[in-house]
Amino acid sequence: MKKSVLFGALTVAGLAAGAAAAGTLDDVKARGKLNCGVTTGLVGFAAPDANGEWKGFDVAVCRAVAAAVLGDPSAVEFVPTTGKTRFTALASGEIDMLARNTTWTFSRDVDLKFEFTGVNYYDGQGFMVPKELGVSSAKDLDGATVCIQTGTTTELNLADFFRANNISYEPVPIETNAEAQQQYLAGACDVYTTDASGLAATRATFENPGEHILLPEIVSKEPLGPLVRHGDNEWADVVRWTLNALITAEELGVSSANVAEMASSTNNPEVARLLGTEGELGSMLGLEADWAKRAIETQGNYGEIFAKNIGEETPIGLSRGLNAQWTDGGLLYSPPFR
């Protein structure tokens, strides 16, 4: 009888533990480290460099959140996830946030119970083929063998695109970008399809990038952004507004170089609110007043992060395109800091 009482108590304790797991912000502060899910390696977006340090566009978002919450951009535990494992990792609480080229879709948001906190890259699905195939349009791909990362939206878009155009193809499902690259280069598939940004990043690592072309068709909308679990709105706010702070900083001309000077001498009230010299925005989030300043100081504003990791000066060479500020004809439009 005593044993059953003991287990009854354990059951109650288990239930209590399940219910208490809601306060991610407090958990992260208590842990002193942010667990951030990233890809297993996509140069420019998230990949370890020669020293084993994670670098990239998505990594910068993780580091910005860590800087805002913990004051230390290096207090991040990067958890590499595949297209298949990422949602389980997030739902189970293994990671606090996911910044991994993840497309914001209705079913992921509503059915899988995740909260997308914004878009850090507006992308679309493209196709890469070797130049020697002489293909100039995705509609010429009838009968082609297509390498595709399994468990992604691109897998479904691909099926839709070929069905809509009434042409056939043979899918080769692959777990990671590295394996896809290997099979594509060995000629085991004619085409590699994923988000256009990912294709550009992959092509940049090829020995002869010039021998491969991206087809002009962009067959889907792929808004990529960081996401967190449903139901923890405080934590979702922290991630959302950290991303917005990076975007707003670029819009307002605040950069890593001038953020310290701007914080002390600005006479633009929105900059002052953003950087915490005016108003109480930080404490509303449950963070210190200079949260956004720390994020911008260490990672730079959105434009700096873009230019440093995937911009035209880098081997990946993506232009801003849709990802320009709304003032420059792009889609980046952060709600105001007020």
Partner: protein, 412 residues
């Protein structure tokens, strides 16, 4: 009598549950059962509470909704608008296909290697020992990946077959070995029932004729045995049997108009014929040679379990070594070989779930991979997967046990 330790009726005390050997084992088992039940209850309530907290539920309705993705190897009709259930069935059939093929070839490899390892020829026996030790001591996942990688890297792509200065050519203009798979000519019927291309009835007809031939030859052999028993002279059956096997099937295939669809380059790939995909080949071959090494050891143990006197007695009767093996040793060795062989077949079936490493669309890759991922129904999918593997494994066990019972020593 008051000092006796015998628990007479009515003097049962609670302490006897632990102190009395007659009750102790029952007490301990009851406690273990309660603990186990509570542990399961705890896990279940924890799951239910966490699902409720996350706002999720358990539902199998997703099986009826369109899958939305394509599969590269399908044994039944399937497209991206088919349901998740159908995608799962496609996966089930692919799992069964590779498991069946691998069981057959692993048995062949295993028996050959096991027998040859006992060969008196030093080189042959050492080569087989080398095969067994190399293959069973490296994880099968690594073999799968190695074989697949080598296939991709060594074999040419379809592009190499194109143009006037093609670097590769088809074998006999019939077979194409590419890094996407092997293309072989596929049979079809030009005058088949159900029009050109034909329906499955044609193939059923072929099977019926073959089975008929099998029974006819068995009847001929039985008659020959009877005549031999009665007169001591065995009538010649070879030509009769050959005629029974070949005449009806050739006649049927001629009537149906058998023709061969030879693969040819078309667009990006070879078209026509039958494609045996690279992932299937890699998985099939890896599972076969890996499990074959284990079966070889089972076979060797089985043969060595047959006492040497049996071999010597058979030799003394004048039987040649290969007949000693096939008539005397192997039938007795089978009794030792079959039980561990069952577990090797189960291993093949379960190891086939490593298919996703090379992109082979088995049940783990469709239901447990893409469907799970696109619908987010992890618990449901994994439960179904567990159920499937359990049922298949139990079925294989049951069939093999029937075979084992028919082979084992009949004691009178």
């Amino acid at each position: 009598m008051s000092t006796t330790t015998d628990p007479q009726g009515g003097t049962f005390r609670l302490s006897m549950l632990l102190n009395d050997t007659r009750y102790r084992s029952m007490t301990l088992q009851a406690i273990a059962a309660i603990v186990l039940a509570l542990a399961l209850l705890y896990l279940y309530s924890n799951l239910a509470a966490n699902l409720r907290a996350a706002g999720l539920n358990i539902s199998f309705a997703f099986l009826g909704s369109p899958a939305g993705y394509d599969i590269n190897q399908t044994l039944i009709d399937y497209n991206s608008q088919s349901t998740n259930l159908r995608a799962a069935v496609v996966g089930v059939l692919n799992t069964l296909l590779v498991a069946f093929l691998a069981c057959v070839t692993a048995t062949v490899f295993g028996v050959l290697a096991g027998v040859l390892r006992l060969s008196n020829n030093w080189l042959v026996s050492k080569l087989m020992a080398f095969y067994v030790e190399i293959f069973r001591n490296i994880p099968v996942l690594i073999w799968i990946v190695i074989i697949f990688t080598i296939m991709i890297a060594v074999l040419p792509g379809p592009r190499a077959f194109r143009g006037d200065d093609a670097t590769s050519s088809m074998l006999f203009d019939l077979f194409a070995f590419t890094n996407r798979g092997v293309y072989v000519p596929g049979p079809y019927f030009t005058r088949g029932i159900g029009g050109e291309g034909g329906s499955i009835i044609n193939w059923l007809l072929v099977i019926v004729v073959l089975v008929g031939s099998l029974f006819a030859t068995r009847a001929v052999t039985a008659r020959a045995n009877n005549i031999q028993a009665a007169t001591g002279v065995r009538p010649k059956t070879l030509w009769t049997n050959l005629a029974i096997w070949f005449v009806p099937i050739i006649a049927l295939l001629f009537i149906l108009g058998l023709s061969w669809d030879v693969p040819a380059l078309k667009g990006f790939n070879f078209a026509g014929g039958i494609k045996v995909g690279g992932p299937l080949i890699a998985l099939w071959f890896a599972l076969s040679i890996y499990t074959g090494a284990f079966i070889a050891e089972n076979v060797r143990a089985g043969i060595q379990a047959v006492s040497k006197g049996q071999t010597e007695a058979a030799s003394a009767l004048g039987l040649r070594p290969n007949r000693v093996m096939s008539l005397v040793v192997l039938p007795q060795a089978l009794r030792v070989i079959i039980p561990p062989l069952i577990s090797q077949y189960l291993n093949i079936t379960k190891n086939s779930s490593l298919a996703i490493a090379v992109g082979y669309a088995d049940i783990t890759a469709t239901l447990g991979g893409i469907t799970l991922n696109q619908t987010g129904r992890a618990i449901e999918c994994v439960l179904l997967l567990m159920l499937f593997y359990l049922v298949i494994s139990l079925l294989i066990s049951a069939f093999m046990n029937v075979y084992n019972n028919s082979m084992k020593l009949k004691e009178r």
